[in-house]
Symmetry: C2
Subunit: 339 residues, 2 copies
């Protein structure tokens, strides 16, 4: 795909806007990679000079880099929608932008998936879901159960219908938003099925690029009955949903540190971190990048489907506050309290 000079400028403005703070050419170049713009930082600086001249950006300080001017802001907001609407990659980006989680404070909103199921199956469902979390096949260890009448999707103002309950899980793309706030741009590449053997991840059996699908990969795999999360949890062999991502290799130490913090918050879905510039589970990464495998937030939902419970999944369903999510271990208590 050939991009015109104007398109590149538009995208530079866009990432500056998304970031919400000044940035240097280097950081901008990294962010642009996730948007199909592959230029050196030097080239970015040349574009920035043009944007400066046009009054759309300005040099904030020699240390901080460029920021948007009021005029630049206007340009972004009126400018053409860059996103190929409909593709999952675009939705991920949009939700990451709207999400706000402060790692330091341990609070804020997260991207969530929802799973609707018959209320009468609640007890059985929890019996299925719990061991999946216990086997560490979920995205972190938090889970929320909502009863009929509760709003389960703020954006769409969707309400849990009578006779149903909603199981809300933390979506693994939340991690991208959390890391981005810490200055680390993670790009989601593929959703896929990861084969476990003897409780150890072995290889991806299927991959589906987020940038090339209008349907969430794991939703699709679940509907197609291609997962075997329960088998994996019970025997140590099976196929579970996982996501392949990458980030700039320079950020590796920071990634490991943040991962530890996430563990304490019950948000650790990171299954493996690769070696810089080396393929991870057979999947090559870009120059100067490191691979990352994250477990899918929908794995518990996949287990429900496998168990024959009629579920209706919606990934990337919306945003929800972290504090509302109990640890799965405390679930009994919470569900008894009701909504």
């Amino acid at each position: 795909m050939k991009l015109t000079s104007e398109e590149i400028q538009q995208r530079i403005l866009k990432v500056l806007h998304r970031l919400g703070r000044p940035a240097g050419s280097s950081q901008i170049a990294e962010l642009l990679r996730g948007w199909g713009v592959d230029l050196s930082e030097r080239s970015i600086r040349l574009y920035l000079l043009q944007l400066d001249a046009a009054g759309l950006t300005q040099l904030e300080s020699r240390r901080a880099g460029r920021s948007l001017t009021a005029k630049g802001l206007a340009e972004v907001e009126q400018g053409p929608a860059i996103e190929r609407v409909g593709f999952v990659a675009g939705q991920i980006d949009e939700l990451n932008y709207r999400m706000g989680f402060r790692l330091r404070a341990g609070m804020g909103t997260l991207v969530v998936n929802t799973t609707l199921l018959p209320a009468r199956d609640e007890v059985a469902a929890l019996e299925v879901v719990r061991p999946v979390f216990a086997a560490r096949l979920g995205m972190g260890s938090r889970l929320l159960v909502l009863r009929a009448g509760a709003v389960y999707d703020v954006a769409r103002a969707a309400v849990v219908p009578r006779g149903k309950i909603a199981l809300v899980t933390v979506c693994s793309v939340s991690l991208n938003g959390i890391f981005l706030k810490e200055g680390i741009p993670i790009t989601s590449r593929y959703g896929g099925l990861l084969e476990f053997r003897n409780r150890l991840p072995a290889r991806f059996t299927e991959l589906l690029a987020y940038g090339g699908t209008t349907q969430d990969p794991l939703e699709l795999f679940i509907r197609a009955n291609m997962t075997s999360v329960r088998k994996c949890e019970q025997t140590g062999n099976g196929l579970v949903g996982a996501s392949f991502r990458e980030f700039p290799s320079v950020a590796l130490p920071a990634v490991l540190k943040i991962r530890d913090q996430l563990r304490l918050l019950g948000l650790d879905g990171i299954l493996a971190v690769g070696v810089p510039n080396q393929p991870l589970y057979g999947i090559p990464v870009g120059e100067g990048r490191t691979g990352l495998v994250v477990l899918a937030g929908l794995n518990p939902a996949a287990a429900l489907e496998e168990a024959g419970i009629a579920v209706e999944n919606r990934s990337l369903a919306g945003l929800l506050d972290y504090v509302k999510f109990p640890e799965f271990r405390h679930l009994n208590m919470w569900t008894r309290r009701g909504e």
Copy 2:
């Protein structure tokens, strides 16, 4: 994705090899687009000069363009596998290369899909499949039924097991191969679900890029029960499998002509041809290219699944000779004759 100079040279050699005849920079540039190389023809000529100097290519004649030398041939064959193995786009390319169909003669091999189903369901299956072809929702109008013991996949030497029959359909990627032989490089972009309203195609409801999936899109949609081919055939409203492709706009007249010839051969799966450089059903095409929508060869198989017949699909299953495929209208006759 940044490509090194060597990688670009490798790919130039590769397309020359695949093409199997001399080509000019312009044609090479077109072909390279399908391989993630986006360069002007002038730039290609600069690379060709380097390759000439290295003795890998030579100027065949001022008119015909470059061809591979023996040394160049060796280089391609030893060279690193460029393909991201596993992704469907790579498989499509591989099969296109091996396929040989001469439009002029109306004979040669085609890429096929196979569908295994219980032999006792044969009569019912034909009742389901026939109207799908009659409604022109298949890829052309040809269909082969194989009985137990017949080889249904030459490459894998797979045999139809006892108690089963195999339904063999022409895969829509065969078109790419046919057109390529006529000098028109068609690139398969997306497999998806196309919504019909009142018997007319309206829009794509789902898309899945061939370059970003390891599983055939339509196989996936069928397994996920997302198709409604029968409903479409019966009521004129529904979701059927279709593929979005594009080709260089200059070839438009030739495409239309070839389409007419294909119709006579019962291989017409082309549902719509776009306007040069204009989006087709909402999907934008590249600069200087024209969109094309082709019906999926597996649509009849989708109808079977919808009808509750236990099917096992394998798309891009292998190659089969055109002459073996009867018209679906003559199917009774053929099936009676047995295998």
